[in-house]
Symmetry: C2
Subunit: 338 residues, 2 copies
């Protein structure tokens, strides 16, 4: 696949969102939002049928996920106390397993991404995640949940939304390989080697950047997992492999055809001593994690989980040029809009 | 029904939320959250089956609903621009009808309620609404949607959650009258007269306060609508009756047994000239409603809609002493908690 067949990105003449009237009255937007409605319905159907309880995550709290790559958090004043908008639901997902062993959220998040990401076609300052967490699950267990969930969603959407997909120009045969068998799987180390083979100088000890991820994605015709990212590329809650220090027991799920990352997940750190050490390694003051660390000290369950970017999944399924097309009121980094 | 049979409120020895571990590991909380999960599933089932498209509302934006009684809005800094957390989804509900004629959200809201409301047993600073809006619908049309939706939810929850309700001590016969026929209906004027009859000095031109609402609620055994509130008691978007200036074409839905308000709704203002006049009457500067007024000026659809407080509906159905019991991470006004 050549570069020009990839979904559009900056420099490939992709315009930003039009105003709300043009966006909402567009038959394209309407078809996309109907597809997205089926995606969330299919996710609820699959997870509820598998014993998960859907919960409603908070959108504000004293502390939030520090792990977002380069994004800033939003401060608010809650009766004189400094609170945050949620950048992800991870702290609440771990806590919620005190109530149920299998939970999910469809969670809104706000991340003030760097201004330069407004032209990646991938980043929104406000977006949603299908957030799943399972007590006592290993990474291999949770990979199967993610694979089963994404496969079910695509099976339902291609089954019920044929007219919308046709209107959007998305050939449902794009999903034949996905639906025919298990997703691919490689380690971060193998991904780095593969990128070297493509002429890209990927540091085997660093995050895979957007460009490289897109290169790798374009080599595949079905989604694939990249596992075992180096420590430092993700938040303190992704469990470090006790047998391979410096390597996380985590994964990303990458869509094929150049669409890039759909989902990040991991086995979790859950022991107080290890979490304290991991927070300190990032240079953060553990004191800001008050309520969370109080819970962890008294004991939380081991778990694995993941978050699927809902707008990114919608983009992949609907075959869209940009992630903002999958949001009714898209907020690009730095751009004032409804 | 005597005063002491009412659900507990401040002064009736209702404790606030315990810490997150005690709350989440409590079998009561777990039963309540399972009931709530069925409530949202039933709402989606009813509305999707009736041609509604579920959309995901923004949680931040340049402006939000000014109508919340006495509650403060939360400011945030969005790349140097002053944004708000949503206090309600009303502006987006009207806009979203440009895409579809029947929409709903299950929307998170944040309202910094006055500190004294932390003891009403009714108020949370963060809560959810089942938010419904229908293009070209009259108030009578939307009353039927609200009645059908609440009846369906209660029919499904009593049918599927018998064990949870029994555990919570909620006798399902409490809903026999509700399920047997249409909800009651009275005007605000009639409600004021009824309150006079109960020895309460209700101003016929003012909002019905929490205490009076509870008094009225305790007189009924099925939910009832109170219609035609005086202008000034609600936001500018509730349509003023052209034939009876000063009276709104709106309603509240009040639960019986002392549980009080579940839902507010209205036929909406949709004409630019009238909306501008209504905003000016409240003393606000229309300039802050930039994107919304731009849409209205170019034309939006007439509509009616409502928002059901999800935690309050859960409280009523589960028979709880306080609304915070219906939230996994309850935030009382002024109280720091996860």
């Amino acid at each position: 696949m050549t570069q020009t067949q990839l979904p559009a990105t900056a420099g490939e003449s992709l315009a930003g969102p039009p105003g709300p009237r043009a966006h909402l009255t567009s038959p394209v937007t309407q078809a996309v939002l109907r597809v997205q409605n089926q995606i969330t319905a299919a996710a609820r159907e699959y997870l509820s049928g598998d014993g998960f309880v859907e919960m409603l995550p908070p959108i504000i709290g004293p502390v939030t996920d520090p792990g977002a790559r380069g994004a800033k958090q939003v401060d608010i004043d809650f009766y004189g106390h400094r609170y945050k908008l949620m950048t992800s639901a991870i702290l609440y997902k771990q806590a919620s397993l005190l109530a149920f062993n299998r939970i999910f959220y469809i969670a809104p998040n706000v991340r003030l991404e760097p201004l330069e990401t407004s032209s990646t076609a991938r980043h929104l300052a406000e977006f949603h995640q299908i957030d799943v967490e399972v007590a006592h699950a290993s990474r291999d267990d949770i990979l199967l949940v993610a694979q089963g969930l994404v496969s079910h969603i695509i099976r339902r959407v291609t089954g019920t939304m044929a007219a919308e997909l046709a209107f959007l120009g998305r050939d449902p045969r794009a999903f034949d390989a996905l639906l025919a068998g298990p997703f691919g799987r490689m380690t971060h180390h193998e991904a780095a080697e593969s990128l070297h083979g493509l002429g890209h100088d990927q540091d085997p000890h660093a995050e895979i950047d957007w460009y490289a991820e897109r290169l790798l994605s374009a080599q595949h015709e079905r989604p694939f997992f990249v596992t075992d990212y180096p420590k430092g590329s993700r938040g303190f809650y992704d469990r470090e492999n006790p047998d391979r220090p410096g390597t996380l027991m985590n994964f990303d799920l990458i869509a094929p055809e150049g669409y890039g990352e759909l989902c990040s997940g991991s086995e979790r750190e859950f022991e107080y001593r290890r979490i304290m050490a991991r927070i300190r390694e990032t240079g953060e003051n553990p004191a800001k994690y008050g309520w969370y660390l109080d819970l962890v000290r008294e004991g939380i369950k081991s778990s694995s989980g993941f978050g699927i970017g809902l707008e990114r999944l919608t983009r992949y399924i609907a075959g869209l040029d940009a992630t903002w097309q999958a949001n009714a009121y898209p907020k690009l980094p730095g751009v004032v809009s409804p």
